[in-house]
């Protein structure tokens, strides 16, 4: 069996499972929406302040959603020993990681694209002329979150206190992702400064590239029994 095909099969399994249970969809969708509303309430009624905080709020909501999504993708697997069964199949460990990553990433991109207009409306931000660039920003930013979340969720899946442990481990690592994504999308809304945004997008791409290689290489130490 081709390794790339194995990646696709693992991703397809996760996405199919999700399309039937819709557990993550419901949880993350409403969780992100509630986060956006809560942050808006916390900021208050100052419209200028809300507009400036819009992209920060969006990425905070997406960061939390990526934790839920990654943790849930292992939770479903661990029931009835399905994950052990997956590991006994002749699928290389990196393919398992990349498959789970692909499923999580695809899900997060869709979530980000749904949440983006919600944020823009809720916070009164203007999309501006450079708005198409927000799509690669969301793709690169959520990939960064998913990379770390999927690796660390596999690591914490059978530990005590995993719900609180995963964000504690993950967030300090993804600080550059959060920062770059917020800055890039902040530079793209409104009048926009494409040159400034490109610098941050390059940092995002660099982070993603390094961590795709690193996480794929060390994943088998995480799941090895």
């Amino acid at each position: 069996m081709n390794d790339l095909y194995a990646v696709w099969l693992v991703a397809r399994k996760d996405l199919l499972q999700e399309s039937r249970s819709k557990a993550v969809t419901v949880a993350t969708l409403f969780f992100s929406a509630v986060t956006l509303v809560v942050i808006a309430f916390a900021i208050g009624q100052d419209t200028r302040l809300l507009r400036e905080a819009a992209m920060g709020a969006l990425w905070v909501a997406l960061a939390f959603a990526s934790v839920i999504s990654a943790a849930q993708s292992y939770q479903a697997d661990l029931e009835d020993g399905a994950f052990d069964a997956l590991l006994t199949t002749p699928v290389p460990r990196p393919a398992v990681y990349l498959g789970k990553l692909l499923a999580n990433w695809a899900f997060m991109v869709v979530l980000g694209l749904v949440m983006l207009p919600v944020t823009i409306v809720l916070y009164g931000a203007e999309a501006g002329p450079h708005w198409p660039w927000l799509i690669p920003t969301i793709a690169l930013g959520t990939l960064g979150f998913a990379l770390i979340a999927v690796l660390y969720a596999g690591l914490t899946a059978n530990l005590r206190a995993r719900e609180s442990l995963l964000p504690v481990l993950m967030f300090p690592v993804v600080v550059p992702i959060l920062l770059a994504a917020v800055r890039a999308s902040g530079a793209l809304v409104g009048i926009g400064d494409l040159e400034l945004a490109t610098g941050w997008l390059l940092l995002l791409a660099g982070f993603d590239l390094v961590y795709v290689v690193l996480c794929t290489a060390i994943y088998h130490f995480v799941v090895e029994e």
Binding site: T156, L169, P176, R183, L196, L203, L214, V222
Partner: protein, 247 residues
């Protein structure tokens, strides 16, 4: 306790001598920093905090590097001692980066009139403390030594890999613009030769302190591993008395 086991517990003579040398060199470093080096043009005598602060910060980053190095070695050849060394270095990294934050706050209160600035290096150090705390939390949750070593090694490697990105992000965050050139040596600040000499000497002493604690902690870690193995052997076979298992 027999004499043989007590001998195992004791710190060897050469380490005590080394400790005495460090104390003496530390005194020299303090003299250089507090008396011999000139006051700064802008900051006056406050610059003297810098000698302790910067040397500790540098060694803290070196300690994180060694943690990741030993973690990678552990993953590569699965020797328990590599895990012990990684933990020893991580503990020193946590200590040194915590001291860096305290030093940074002490330094920025009189010079910048605030305890905390979102300065790139200070932010990076704060993130490093958070990352290292995560490393120790993970370790505390896993009982099996092999799995603990492997999982925490993965965390250590991810932590070390994230530091350059954290540095870039923190640097750009402060200047608000990513096209700024990066200099790791203090943004090209020129320093009097006496000051540089004092700083380098203090860094050298801080390095010696790190190395001493590293060696001592590895010695303790080896004893811990032996104790754990002996205890397991006793529990498995209760009849064999004083069965010693070496690791």
């Amino acid at each position: 306790m027999t004499t043989e086991t007590r001998g195992r517990w004791e710190r060897p003579m050469w380490m005590k001598a080394w400790a005495a040398v460090i104390v003496a060199l530390f005194a020299v470093g303090a003299y250089l920093g507090l008396v011999w080096s000139p006051p700064d043009v802008n900051q006056g005598n406050l610059i003297r905090i810098m000698y302790a602060h910067v040397s500790i910060a540098w060694i803290g980053f070196v300690a994180v590097g060694f943690t990741a190095l030993f973690a990678a070695l552990f993953l590569w050849r699965s020797k328990r001692m590599d895990d012990v060394r990684a933990v020893a270095s991580a503990e020193m990294a946590l200590l040194f980066s915590s001291l860096t934050i305290i030093g940074g706050m002490t330094y920025s209160r009189p010079t910048l009139n605030t305890f905390w600035t979102w300065d790139a290096k200070l932010t990076l150090t704060a993130l490093m403390v958070a990352l290292l705390v995560g490393y120790f939390i993970v370790r505390s949750l896993i009982d099996d030594p092999v799995r603990r070593g492997r999982v925490s090694a993965v965390v250590a490697i991810v932590v070390a890999a994230s530091l350059p990105f954290n540095y870039l992000a923190a640097e750009w965050f402060r200047t608000l613009h990513p096209s700024r050139s990066i200099s790791l040596d203090g943004s090209g600040v020129t320093m009097a030769p006496e000051m540089l000499m004092t700083l380098l000497f203090n860094t050298f002493v801080a390095g010696l302190v790190y190395a001493w604690f590293m060696v001592d902690r590895v010695r303790l870690g080896r004893l811990e591993a032996q104790l754990e193995a002996e205890r397991q052997a006793h529990e498995a076979v209760p009849s064999t008395e004083g069965g010693v298992v070496r690791v």
